[in-house]
Subunit: 353 residues, 2 copies
């Protein structure tokens, strides 16, 4: 069972809880805005669902509540952001702003990030340059290793997600994908809902057999898309997001599900490309629209239920949820009520609107 | 059956044939070098195997033999290369050189390419910045559409390959992957060898059933990695390589297997990132080596035959083939002998060394 909660009510609740946990008001507001954006765009596993976990980390000292986030420009078009172990949303917001500013001058920019934390869904950051007539390209080293190198079973790789955002006539067109068959957030959602996972997501690390119980994933290996290709892509994105920035990768990744206190030294990168340096922005969006319409009008392949274009569900979901509210499972609402009592704020308001 | 041909003999044969077909000597030498590099690194479908097709296009006027390749710097860190319909290897070589020079100044660069052609394997270009202490990131709009949007059956998308190259202690570590389950070059290889394809590569466009006959791929749809994810990635790379540069995408792609004469307006991009703007190069390569050793030493997953790291087979293959020669199938050698007679050059020398 789920209950629809208005986005502004969810956002205000997140804001209250974060402030009660000691975050400065402006920072709490920013994180609440971005977490709510994740819920609005259908990235349920990266929205209000994460709040209990984030609060646990804030309390345990795993996040720096008052970080000194520094931006060091290292070349005309590059910068390195040190997040000082602040919440990832705050660090990545600064990185995205920096990337947009540098790309305006140089046509393209690349901003690396270290000493950050879990920043939610990739799509949010990939979409940020889009409002400025730019393309956004983002990836991160995930905050836990659920995947192995192809052929191996040691958990040394994360879902290392990738986001690419481009402008279109209907707003940002955003690809937001894990390099694994599913994101680990989706696995957590299945566990909370008590559902079995389909075969093909996990295999047992000892036997290689399918593993479908989402509460037993610690015995398994999450599978990459395209076999060795997805694992290779996760490695390369991890090198770009982690090693290049002096951030954690591989064996050095701190599992933030199991450890609330240690610094994660999370790495990300964001690249912004200023479209008008290549083609007029209006031409670009018109061409994107023309081609997306072509793809959308494609003849259907028997056996599949719908045409899926990147960003389409995201956009539809955003419109629906702005209108109808964000559907939150009862089990999650119960957790959030408990959290409200713990930090001493009002429970989430069940009224819509 | 295959016969081993020394790399320098293969390269010299390609060079002879291209010059005989009217390419200027310096251009023929460069294309021969890059095609041989594809063969050496195991990208068999992008090496000498393509020569008969390229010569057909040169004769039919599909390539401009004396292109005026222009490089327009559009911002401090960006450039747009117009290939004037020259051979893709020549156009992309210029683009990669430009990307390296701009990244040296700005820390990162993004070079878009239009009016180019098929340029061979992605890995070659992704590896070019690596010799300069940089990371290379390359993609292209493929020269034929064998894939559909997820859920559709109209062939509107290509295999749009992606290459990422980073330095390591053992030389360039290169990920070179199609966004489809296999590259179309591999399909061509299966057809030439008369082998059936495994299930999971193609489905019949009308029925959605598996299609395994590599000579009947025109009735089928090549499948993306990770379902809608791979199709979404192909779309995004196509937007970056095609639409952003005013190059062909989607319905506008010319199938260069079926049409030897029309301009393809092929688009690519290459991005170079100067590592030392983020972390000392020696630290970077040492960290890459440490993590790759970790991955390599991983416990094995039952059911899979080997640990696969990006670039490992590529590197092993290069060493083996430099020593032992490039194994060319008899059917291909027969085609190359026929080609030699047609253009009036000496047949490929069968002696090794």
């Amino acid at each position: 069972m789920t209950q629809a909660i208005a986005a502004r009510i969810a956002q205000s609740f997140i804001d209250d809880v974060l402030r009660a946990a000691g975050l400065p008001a402006a920072d709490a507001a920013r994180v609440a805005e971005l977490m709510t954006e994740a819920d609005l765009t259908g990235a349920d596993a990266h929205g209000i669902f994460r709040l209990p976990h984030y609060i646990r980390r804030l309390k345990a000292g795993g996040f720096n509540r008052a970080p000194d986030i520094t931006v060091k420009q290292t070349a005309p078009a590059t910068a390195l952001v040190d997040g000082d172990n602040g919440m990832g949303h705050l660090v990545m917001s600064r990185a995205a702003e920096t990337a947009i500013a540098l790309a305006r001058e140089c046509g393209v920019s690349w901003v690396g990030v270290r000493k950050s934390n879990h920043a939610g869904t990739a799509g949010i950051y990939a979409a940020m340059p889009v409002e400025h007539g730019m393309i956004g390209f983002y990836a991160a080293v995930a905050n836990a290793n659920h995947m192995a190198v192809w052929g191996g079973s040691d958990l040394l790789l994360g879902t290392n997600p990738l986001g690419i955002g481009v402008p279109s006539g209907d707003g940002p067109l955003v690809l937001d994908m894990a390099t694994t068959v599913v994101s680990y957030g989706t696995v957590k959602k299945y566990a909370m809902q008590g559902r079995a996972m389909p075969e093909g997501w996990f295999v047992n690390a000892k036997t290689g057999e399918p593993l479908t119980d989402p509460t037993r994933t610690s015995e398994g290996v999450l599978l990459p898309i395209g076999g060795y290709k997805g694992a290779g892509l996760a490695i390369m994105l991890g090198i770009l997001g982690g090693i290049l920035n002096g951030a954690a990768f591989g064996r050095d990744v701190v599992d933030f599900n199991a450890d609330d206190a240690s610094e994660t030294n999370t790495g990300h990168f964001i690249c912004a490309i200023d479209i008008k340096r290549f083609i007029p922005l209006a031409t670009f969006t018109a061409e994107v629209d023309r081609h997306m319409a072509d793809l959308h009008a494609s003849k259907r392949l028997p056996g599949l239920d719908a045409i899926r274009l990147p960003g389409e569900r995201r956009r539809q979901c955003r419109a629906e949820r702005l209108r109808d509210g964000i559907p939150l499972p009862d089990a999650l609402l119960a957790q959030l009520d408990k959290l409200a009592r713990e930090v001493g704020v009002k429970a989430i308001d069940r009224r819509m609107g």
